[in-house]
Each structure stands twice: as structure tokens, then as C-alpha cells.
């Protein structure tokens, strides 16, 4: 049963990254769209993510519940030493979620829209930035459970070049996912061209920040190179990711939207696999060289058993319903 639980944990994180990430990305795209095109982008975006957007953010809840029920030690270690970035991310989630709904459900469209839009755009940037920072910090080995002073316990754990680079990389990936996704959501050729352009920019940004992540890892002595290039799975994943990038650019020019989406999702999945596979099942790397492993800190047997059962039963209920939701609102209207 522990494999079921761990699979769901990985799936939750991955799907949140892809679906929630595309969601964040839509706000990032809006942030980097010139003022005159913003209302068009907003409209396309609303049609695209409106019906499914609440569901996209449920994956985070699933992942966090699995963590605190099944892996309480990991959950609490993160809560204590990454308190500040978690808090900022939460503020971002609150601000973004409410602004998105408020701007749509305000019965009178007036100057308040300006405020909602501002909040939505900036929190769309900040939330994935800190999500990435948290993810980076977990594997960076900067978390110091033996620290005695405030700065090394609660600040340097996440405020370092590696974590921040991963944060920026995440933002670029989210923007990239969203741009690819949005291309297929509009019929207008001008809009499509704009989104293609955005996808290209975001892709370039992702490559630059990705390089930054590797450089920061070298400086911080994080064995990222080894994880990616010396591990067969990591290496395969990164080769597949690179190949899909080439294919993606080709298809981008051809304008095949459905395959593009799958490919973009695949590419991001491969990047995640490349970074995380080599040190699995270790989840958190600590400053003193130790690691907190998923298997070693797993909860009591009965808990894992019922958690796994709940997840399996839950997915029988959820997945068809969710699939139908995507099908119903995402199929092209004739």
C-alpha cells in the first residue's frame, strides 16, 4: 500500500505542477502582455480555465494531505524550516484565488477591476516563484535542523541562489505551459500568433533559468549534474525532454495544438523526473548530509493502508467525473 500512497503523492505534485502551473502561467502571460491586448488575453483565459480552475488547485490539497497523514515528519520539517516561503506562497494562493473570482463575479464592472487585475497578475507570479523556491529548498540541502540562530534556521534554508533559480525556472515553465495551452483556446489568428510568441519567450526564459539552476547547483555543491547525467533514468528523461523540445518547436510552426499540449506536459514531466529520480526515495536533503526518506518516515501501517484505500476509492469517484468535466467544456464547440 505504501507504493500506492507514494504514487498518489507524486501524481498529486506532478498534476499540480502541470494543471495548477498552467493556471498560474495564464496569470503570468497576462502580466507580460501589453496593455492593449490584456482584455483579449483575459477573455481567452477565462474561457479556458474558468470551469476547471477550482479542480486544478485541488491537487495541492491532495498532496499536502498525503504528506501530513502519511509522512508527518516530512510535513513538519518543511513547515518549520520553510515557514516563511510557505507563508508567502499561501498569501499568493489566497490573493490569487479570490481576485480571480471577485473580478468575474463583481456585478458592476468599474475601477475595482483594476485592483483585482493587479492582485491577480502579481500573485500569479509570486505563488509559483515561491512554490519553486520551496521545491528547490527541499532538495538543496540548505535546511539545517541543527541551526541555532534565526537566519540559518529560517532564512538561509530557502534564500539561496539554487532555490531562487528553481523558483524562476518554475515561473518560466508555468508561463510556457500556459502559452501552449492558450494557443488552442482561441480561433483568432492574431491571438494565436501572440500566444505562440509568448510560448517562445517563455521557452527561452526557461532555458536561461534552467542554466542558472545548474550553475547555482555547481556553486552550492549540489550534485545536480550527477542526478541528471550519471543516472540512466535521469539521462533518458533529459534526452527525451530535449527531443520533445525540438519536436515542439517544429509543431509550433505547424500549429498542431492538441499534440503540442501533450508534448509540453510530457516535457515538463521529464524535467521533474530527471531532477528527482536519482535521489528518490529521499525527499528532504539536510545540511548535515542526512536525508529524510519517504520510506523511513512513513506513517503507521494501518494509517497507510486506509489512506491508500481512501485514495483509490476517491479516484474511482473523482477521475471519471473530472474527465467528463474536461471533456464537456474543453471540446471544441461547433
Amino acid at each position: 500500500m505504501e507504493y500506492v500512497v507514494i504514487t498518489f503523492l507524486c501524481l498529486g505534485i506532478l498534476l499540480y505542477f502541470l494543471l495548477g502551473g498552467a493556471d498560474f502561467g495564464a496569470g503570468i502571460i497576462e502580466l507580460f502582455t501589453s496593455t492593449k491586448n490584456r482584455s483579449r488575453t483575459r477573455k481567452t483565459m477565462y474561457q479556458a480555465i474558468g470551469p476547471v480552475w477550482e479542480a486544478n488547485h485541488m491537487w495541492l490539497i491532495i498532496a499536502i494531505v498525503i504528506l501530513f497523514v502519511g509522512f508527518p515528519h516530512i510535513y513538519t520539517t518543511m513547515s518549520v524550516y520553510l515557514h516563511i516561503p510557505l507563508l508567502i506562497m499561501l498569501i499568493g494562493i489566497i490573493a490569487r484565488g479570490t481576485a480571480f473570482v471577485f473580478r468575474h463575479y463583481d456585478a458592476i464592472k468599474d475601477d475595482m477591476q483594476w485592483l483585482y487585475n493587479r492582485i491577480f497578475r502579481y500573485s500569479s507570479f509570486i505563488t509559483p516563484l515561491f512554490l519553486g523556491i520551496i521545491a528547490g529548498s527541499v532538495i538543496s540541502g540548505h535546511i539545517d535542523t541543527e541551526a541555532n540562530d534565526f537566519l540559518s534556521a529560517y532564512i538561509w534554508s530557502w534564500l539561496n541562489w539554487f532555490s531562487v533559480s528553481v523558483g524562476l525556472f518554475t515561473v518560466a515553465l508555468c508561463g510556457f505551459l500556459a502559452a501552449i495551452y492558450l494557443i488552442g483556446e482561441t480561433e483568432d489568428v492574431h491571438d494565436q500568433r501572440r500566444f505562440i510568441q509568448k510560448a517562445e519567450y517563455m521557452n527561452i526564459a526557461a532555458v536561461i533559468f534552467g542554466a542558472m539552476v545548474f550553475i547555482a547547483a555547481q556553486l552550492d555543491k549540489i550534485p545536480l549534474m550527477d542526478w541528471v547525467f550519471k543516472n540512466p533514468v535521469g539521462l533518458t528523461a533529459i534526452i527525451l525532454a530535449s527531443l520533445s523540445l525540438v519536436l515542439l518547436w517544429y509543431l509550433l510552426i505547424k500549429g498542431k495544438t492538441q499534440i503540442l499540449r501533450v508534448l509540453a506536459g510530457f516535457q515538463v514531466t521529464m524535467i521533474l523526473v530527471a531532477i528527482s529520480y536519482a535521489h528518490f526515495p529521499n525527499f528532504i536533503r539536510l545540511k548535515n548530509g542526512d536525508a529524510i526518506s519517504l520510506f523511513e518516515t512513513i506513517g503507521p501501517q494501518k494509517t497507510i493502508y486506509s489512506l491508500g484505500l481512501a485514495l483509490l476509492l476517491g479516484s474511482i469517484l473523482i477521475l471519471p467525473f473530472l474527465g467528463y468535466l474536461f471533456y464537456k467544456f474543453k471540446k471544441k464547440e461547433e
Binding site: 477550482e54 494531505v65 513538519t76 503507521p300
Partner: protein, 443 residues
């Protein structure tokens, strides 16, 4: 502000905020389903408009409730890591099921809000019902998790170790049923009165009378049934608390000395230093009866509880008085309303009755918050009753006061904006729903 106090305040604030939004999110869908059903059955346009108008409210509240709930799932660890480290695997079962219920609710809400004219009309109605049922299930599950903190079960506590964990047993602890029942009824009552009151106000102002009258009727029936059943559920809770948490009951009633028979105190000013209550109305033997079903039974006072295990008395007592007082008032209003319904009196002519409902707009929620203060403050100094103290669970990170200030500001602004949005939605009712032809398709 010291860190422990700040952490407790932040938790109280977050819960207090979330509770209101989640209650509305879990109850309003049922009002919508009734109205939606009437539209499908009668083809009366007013019910369709009403369903749509309400659904916008639900969307606003659901989104706010969803993010404040996400916040809470992290906050448990951010503020109480030592609690979560041990409690997570034991009381986490309802949370993992709640994740499923909440997920289904979000999907169903997507169908419901965007499904007008796109789905089969009865499937569309069904998705609305699913929102309500899964919301209610979420509520019950979360309360079951809370009740475990009051009534720990499903593990053996041996030398500071939590052994033989059984999450199912933990979920069905002794307090879950009485707490969940009390909470569900409270949610229906508070939301029902708030919604009915707002529509009553619009009727009194002579705006879209027909629209608001239909809305009022639906909400009022739910509210009044809830309010009339609540005293029964309260009685179950009182007897349960008397058995399991005598310290809490003693604090609720400010019973400093063990008495046989024990009187029921109504009101009164508590002096925690002198351990006295001034100016309360005493009903002899009534507490004995309420707690144990026997006018002569002994009720444990705070003198039998070690000093370092006593909850704050004044806060618990006042909160309890407020909850019971308001509950009684709402039950009386409900009784009057049902008498009018049975005699088939025209509601629109009874302006005083509508005014009573307007008065009750905030009351249900005040009682609901007071009830949670009784539960939570009355459990102190424990976070897991009898097992772990709240102060031992708090995060080692200093400076929690700042995060408390930030979140106070956030929750305050959110409350202001949500109120403002609702005000605007209601203000736009004449424009949006007066003339069905001019109505914009879809949302």
C-alpha cells in the same frame, strides 16, 4: 505579543473566518437545488433567476472558503508542527476523505456554474445537488477530525509514544456524532437566517417583491427547521461533554464548586480571581438535569480539576451564554414563523415578522462562532485532550506575531470585499432579473 498567544490568535482567526465561508458554501447549494427544482418543475422564470443569483453568491463564498481551507491545511503544520507530527497519522483519515469530497465538490461546482444550457437539465440539477452533498460531507469529516482532539481515540499512549494507531477508530471517536450533528444544524440555521434576513430586508424596501419573497420562503424553511432541532442536538452535546470533558462543562457554566444538585446559571459576571459569579439567574437543579438527565445528580466543578488543567472560565462561560441565548431566540422566531405558515397568513403583511428576520441576519453566525469558542477554548490547555498541551505543540519559529498581523489584515480586507461584492450583487438584482428577456445568457 508573545509567540504562543500569536499562534493561538492566528489559528482562531483563520478558523473563525473559514467556518463562515465553508458553512455558506455547504448550505447554499441546497437552497439553490430547491429553487432549481422549482424552476424545472414550474417553468416559472423567477426560480431560474433566483438559482442563478444565488449561484453567484456560492461561487464567491466557495472560492474564498477553498483558499482559506487550503491555508488551514498548511497552517496546522506552520503553527503546530509537534501536534501534526504525532496527530497527523492518527486523525488524518477524515482529512484524506475530505480531500476527495472537496475535490468532487469543486468538479460539480464547475459543472453547475458553467453548465447552463450546455448540460441535460436534470444532470445539471444533479451536479448542483452533488455540490451540496459533498460540501456537507466535507463539513462532517472536518468536524470529526476536530472531535478527535476533544475525544482522542484510536491509539495507545505509552511513555510518550503513540502506539497501535487505528485511524478508523480515531475518526469514529465518541464525540464525532454529537459535534457533527450540532455543527450541521448550526450551519443550516445560521446561513438560512442570514439569507432569509437579507431577502426580508429587500421585501421591506419594496424591491422585486416576488423574487425576494420566493427566496425568503426557501431559506426561512431551512433556517427554522434547523433552529427548532438545534436544542435537541445541544442536549445530546451537553450530556456528552459532561461525561467526557467535565472541565469544559464546568467552565461553560462557571461552576467553580462541585454541587449536588447543581443549578443552571444564566448570564452573570465571572470573576476568575475570586472564583465567583455575580448577578446570574440561578435555576436550581437544572444543570444536573441537562448534564445527567437527573435533577439531583452531582455535577463536577472546577475544584475537582487540577489548576493547570483548567480552561479559561470567563471566555468559555460568556461564549456559551451567547450561543444558548441566540439559539433560543432563533428557535422562538422559527416557532412564530411556522405558526404563521400553518395559519396561512400572508407574510407580506406581517412587516414585524420580516423585521425580526432582518434582525437575525448576523445572529446565527454570532452563535456559531460562540459555539466554536466554547469547544476550542473549553478544551484548553490541551490540544489533544489529556494527551498533549497546546503550548508544547507550537512552532519553534519566533516572530509569529507578524504573521498574525498580516493575516488579520488579509482576512479583514477579504471580509470587506466579499461584503461589498454581495451588496453589489443584491443591488443589481432589479437590473439583472427584472426583465427575463434582457438577461444575458449564461452567467
Amino acid at each position: 505579543m508573545d509567540d504562543f498567544l500569536a499562534a493561538r490568535s492566528q489559528m482562531a482567526l483563520s478558523l473563525g473566518f473559514h467556518i463562515i465561508f465553508s458553512c455558506i458554501g455547504m448550505v447554499m447549494p441546497f437552497f439553490m437545488a430547491v429553487s432549481h427544482y422549482k424552476w424545472l418543475k414550474t417553468n416559472d422564470e423567477v426560480y431560474k433567476n433566483l438559482t442563478k443569483a444565488w449561484s453567484k453568491g456560492v461561487a464567491i463564498f466557495f472560492a474564498t472558503g477553498a483558499v482559506s481551507g487550503t491555508m488551514l491545511s498548511f497552517e496546522l503544520g506552520l503553527l503546530w508542527p509537534k501536534f501534526m507530527e504525532h496527530a497527523g497519522p492518527i486523525f488524518g483519515m477524515p482529512f484524506s476523505l475530505e480531500g476527495t469530497a472537496f475535490f468532487i465538490e469543486a468538479i460539480a461546482l464547475g459543472f453547475f456554474l458553467y453548465g447552463w444550457d450546455k448540460l441535460n437539465k436534470w444532470f445539471h440539477w444533479f451536479t448542483g445537488m452533488v455540490v451540496g452533498v459533498s460540501g456537507l460531507a466535507s463539513g462532517i469529516l472536518v468536524v470529526a477530525a476536530n472531535s478527535w482532539m476533544n475525544s482522542p481515540a484510536g491509539f495507545d499512549f505509552v511513555n510518550g509514544q503513540y502506539l497501535h494507531v487505528d485511524p478508523i477508530q480515531a475518526m469514529f471517536n465518541k464525540a464525532w456524532f454529537s459535534q457533527a450533528l450540532h455543527m450541521c444544524l448550526a450551519a443550516f440555521t445560521a446561513t438560512g437566517f442570514a439569507v432569509a434576513g437579507v431577502h426580508a430586508l429587500m421585501i421591506l424596501r419594496n424591491q422585486n417583491k416576488h423574487f425576494h419573497l420566493q427566496a425568503f420562503k426557501i431559506a426561512a424553511v431551512f433556517a427554522c427547521i434547523g433552529a427548532l432541532l438545534q436544542p435537541l442536538s445541544g442536549d445530546i452535546s451537553a450530556k456528552d461533554v459532561a461525561k467526557r470533558q467535565p472541565a469544559k462543562l464546568a467552565a461553560m457554566e462557571a461552576l467553580y464548586k462541585t454541587e449536588k444538585p447543581a443549578p443552571l446559571l444564566i448570564g452573570g459576571i465571572v470573576n476568575e480571581k475570586d472564583q465567583t459569579v455575580k448577578g446570574a439567574i440561578k435555576i436550581p437543579g437544572a444543570l444536573s438535569f441537562l448534564a445527567h438527565g437527573d435533577f439531583k445528580a452531582e455535577v463536577k466543578g472546577l475544584d475537582q480539576i487540577p489548576k493547570d488543567q483548567q480552561p479559561p472560565v470567563a471566555v468559555t462561560h460568556y461564549a456559551f451564554q451567547i450561543m444558548v441565548g441566540i439559539g433560543t431566540l432563533l428557535a422562538l422566531i422559527s416557532l412564530v414563523y411556522f405558526i404563521h405558515l400553518i395559519r396561512k397568513k400572508a407574510l407580506l403583511e406581517k412587516r414585524w415578522l420580516l423585521k425580526l428576520f432582518v434582525l437575525a441576519i448576523p445572529l446565527g453566525y454570532v452563535a456559531l462562532e460562540a459555539g466554536w469558542i466554547v469547544t476550542e477554548v473549553g478544551r484548553q490547555p490541551w490540544i489533544i485532550y489529556g494527551i498533549m498541551r497546546t503550548k508544547d505543540a507550537v512552532t519553534p519559529m519566533p516572530g509569529i506575531a507578524y504573521s498574525f498581523y498580516i493575516f488579520s489584515a488579509i482576512y479583514f480586507s477579504l471580509s470587506v470585499i466579499v461584503t461589498f461584492l454581495l451588496y453589489r450583487q443584491i443591488k443589481m438584482v432589479p437590473v439583472l432579473y427584472n426583465n427575463p428577456i434582457s438577461e444575458t445568457p449564461n452567467h
